[in-house]
C-alpha cells in the first residue's frame, strides 16, 4: 500500500512539475505558430510534433546522449554541479518533452480560434503586443491552453519509454509505468495490478476533465 501512494504521488507530482515546466514555452510556441509568419515556421511546427511520432525510447536515448555526462549539454550541466540523468529531474525532462506536442497542438488551436479583430481593436486602443497577449489572446484561448495542459499532463503520467532511458528505475523515483513494468518483469502480478488500478483511475479523471473542457482526445 505504501508503494501505491508513494509511486502514485510521485508520478502525479512529477507530471505536475513537467506540465508547469512545459507551459511557458508551450504557450509561446503555440502562439507564434498561430499568429506569426516567419522563416522556418513549418520546420518548428514539425520539430515540435516529433516526440509524438518518434518512438519514445528513441527520444529517451537522444535525451540521454544530450544530457549524459559525455553528452552535448551534459558537460555543462555537470560543471554547474547538477545531476539530471538517473534523478527525478530526468523524469520531469522526459515527461515534459513527451507532453509538449500535445500541449502545443491544443493551445495553438485555442489561439487560432481567437477572433483577430479583438486583438486588433486592443492594439488600436494603444495596447502593446504583450498587453494584448495577456489581456485578450490568452484569456480567450484559455480553453485550448487548459485542455492542452490536461492532455500534456495525462501524457506525462503515462510516459514510459523516454523515462526508463534517462531516469532508469530507482527506488523513490519510479513512475507508475516504470513500477508496473518492473513488477511485471519480476512476476509480481498483484503489486502490478494495484498500480494499474491507480493508473486507470488517474487516466479516467484526466480524460474526463479534458472532455469536459471540450477537447477531442
Amino acid at each position: 500500500m505504501t508503494e501505491l501512494f508513494e509511486v502514485t504521488g510521485f508520478t502525479v507530482l512529477m507530471a505536475g512539475v513537467a506540465t508547469l515546466v512545459m507551459l511557458p514555452p508551450g504557450i509561446f510556441v503555440a502562439w507564434i505558430l498561430a499568429r506569426r509568419q516567419f522563416y522556418g515556421r513549418s520546420v518548428l511546427e514539425t520539430v515540435v510534433t516529433l516526440p509524438l511520432v518518434v518512438p519514445p525510447v528513441a527520444t529517451g536515448l537522444i535525451l540521454l546522449k544530450l544530457l549524459g555526462r559525455r553528452g552535448l549539454f551534459g558537460g555543462v550541466i555537470d560543471a554547474i554541479g547538477v545531476d539530471v540523468v538517473f534523478t527525478w529531474k530526468a523524469v520531469v525532462v522526459a515527461m515534459a518533452v513527451m507532453g509538449f506536442p500535445l500541449l502545443v497542438r491544443s493551445a495553438r488551436a485555442g489561439f487560432e480560434a481567437v477572433d483577430r479583430r479583438y486583438e486588433g481593436v486592443a492594439a488600436t486602443l494603444g495596447a502593446r503586443p504583450l498587453k494584448v497577449f495577456w489581456t485578450i489572446s490568452l484569456p480567450l484561448a484559455r480553453r485550448g491552453v487548459l485542455a492542452g495542459a490536461v492532455l500534456g499532463f495525462s501524457r506525462a503520467i503515462g510516459e514510459f519509454g523516454a523515462t526508463v532511458m534517462i531516469a532508469g528505475s530507482l527506488p523513490g523515483s519510479r513512475t507508475l509505468s516504470v513500477a508496473i513494468y518492473r513488477h511485471a518483469e519480476l512476476g509480481q502480478d498483484t503489486a502490478a495490478s494495484i498500480l494499474i488500478i491507480a493508473a486507470v483511475a488517474i487516466g479516467f479523471v484526466a480524460v474526463y476533465v479534458a472532455n469536459r473542457l471540450g477537447v477531442a482526445t
Partner: protein, 264 residues
C-alpha cells in the same frame, strides 16, 4: 461490410500477435529446420552466441538465444513462455522455475562460475582500489543490477554487505535491469562506478576495472542450467544441453573468462 469486419479483425489479431514476434519461438513454427530455444542470463549472451554457432554448424539445429536478466527469463518461463533450456545467473531464479514445475530438477547442473569486478569510466578513474573508496563523495552514483532480483545485483549487494559498506552506499545505488545495463551506464559516464561481472568488463572499452573482487571474498557465483519439463523441441533440447557440457563449449566459456564448474 463483412470484408471490412474481416480485415479489421485480422488487423486486431496481427496487432495482438506482433509483440510476441520478438519472442524467437514465434518464428520456429514456420521453419522446417529443427530449432532449440535457449534462455540465458544477459551476461552469457556473447559466449552462448558463440557456443550456438558451433552447435549449429555441427548439428544443423538452429539455436534461438533469448538473453535478458535472469529474473525476467524466470518470469517468462513461469508464465509458460516455451523454452527448451534455461541458464540462469543465480540459483534463486532457477529454483523459482523448478518450484513452479517449469524446469526439470533432474537435469539441473551447476555449469559455470564468474567473478565480480568494480568498474569506473575510463576517463574518471578517481583512484578507486578497494570497497571503502566507493564511500567517497566524489562517487555519486553506483550502477548495479537491481539488487532485489537481478542475480548480478544480488551478488553485488552480498559482497558490499560483507565488506561492511552497503549501508553507506545504498543511497547511491542505481538499480539496472541487468548487469550489462549497469556496465553501459558506467561506459556512458552517467554513473561513477559499477559492480559488474569480470566477463563483461573485459570486453569494455570505455569502462575499466578499478579492482577485482577476490573470488574468496565475494559471494560464490553460480550459473545453473536445466532443461524444461515440457520442452517444445525435446530432442534438440537434450542435444544442446549435452553440448553445453562438452569441452568444446566449456573452452568457449573459459575464453570469455567464465570458470567451468564441470570436470573435463
Amino acid at each position: 461490410m463483412t470484408t471490412i469486419m474481416r480485415s479489421l479483425s485480422l488487423l486486431l489479431i496481427v496487432g495482438f500477435w506482433l509483440p510476441s514476434c520478438s519472442w524467437p519461438v514465434a518464428q520456429s513454427g514456420s521453419l522446417s529446420t529443427a530449432t532449440v530455444v535457449v534462455s540465458v542470463a544477459a551476461s552469457l549472451s556473447d559466449a552462448v552466441g558463440d557456443v550456438a554457432n558451433v552447435f549449429e554448424k555441427q548439428t544443423g539445429i538452429q539455436v534461438l538465444v533469448n538473453a535478458a536478466g535472469s529474473q525476467i527469463l524466470a518470469t517468462q518461463i513461469i508464465e509458460e513462455v516455451p523454452v527448451d533450456v534455461f541458464v540462469s545467473a543465480d540459483e534463486r531464479q532457477m529454483i523459482r522455475t523448478i518450484a513452479q514445475g517449469n524446469m526439470d530438477e533432474g537435469s539441473y547442473l551447476q555449469l559455470l562460475s564468474n567473478q565480480l569486478v568494480v568498474v569506473v569510466p575510463s576517463d574518471r578513474l578517481m583512484g578507486i582500489s578497494r570497497p571503502d573508496d566507493l564511500i567517497a563523495q566524489s562517487v555519486r552514483r553506483i550502477a548495479l543490477g537491481d539488487p532485489e532480483a537481478v542475480p548480478g545485483g544480488v551478488y553485488a549487494q552480498e559482497y558490499l554487505e560483507q565488506e561492511g559498506v552497503w549501508d553507506a552506499l545504498e543511497s547511491k545505488v542505481v538499480p539496472m535491469r541487468n548487469v550489462r545495463a549497469a556496465l553501459r551506464a558506467v561506459e556512458a559516464g552517467t554513473v561513477d562506478a559499477g559492480v559488474v561481472y569480470r566477463t563483461d568488463a573485459r570486453q569494455s572499452v570505455n569502462a575499466v576495472i578499478a579492482f577485482d573482487v577476490p573470488v574468496g571474498r565475494g559471494p560464490r557465483i553460480i550459473y545453473p542450467a536445466a532443461v524444461s519439463t515440457e520442452p517444445p523441441n525435446p530432442e534438440s533440447a537434450a542435444q544442446f544441453f549435452l553440448f553445453l557440457q562438452t569441452s568444446t563449449a566449456q573452452q568457449i566459456f573459459e575464453a570469455y573468462g567464465f570458470i567451468s564448474l564441470l570436470a573435463h
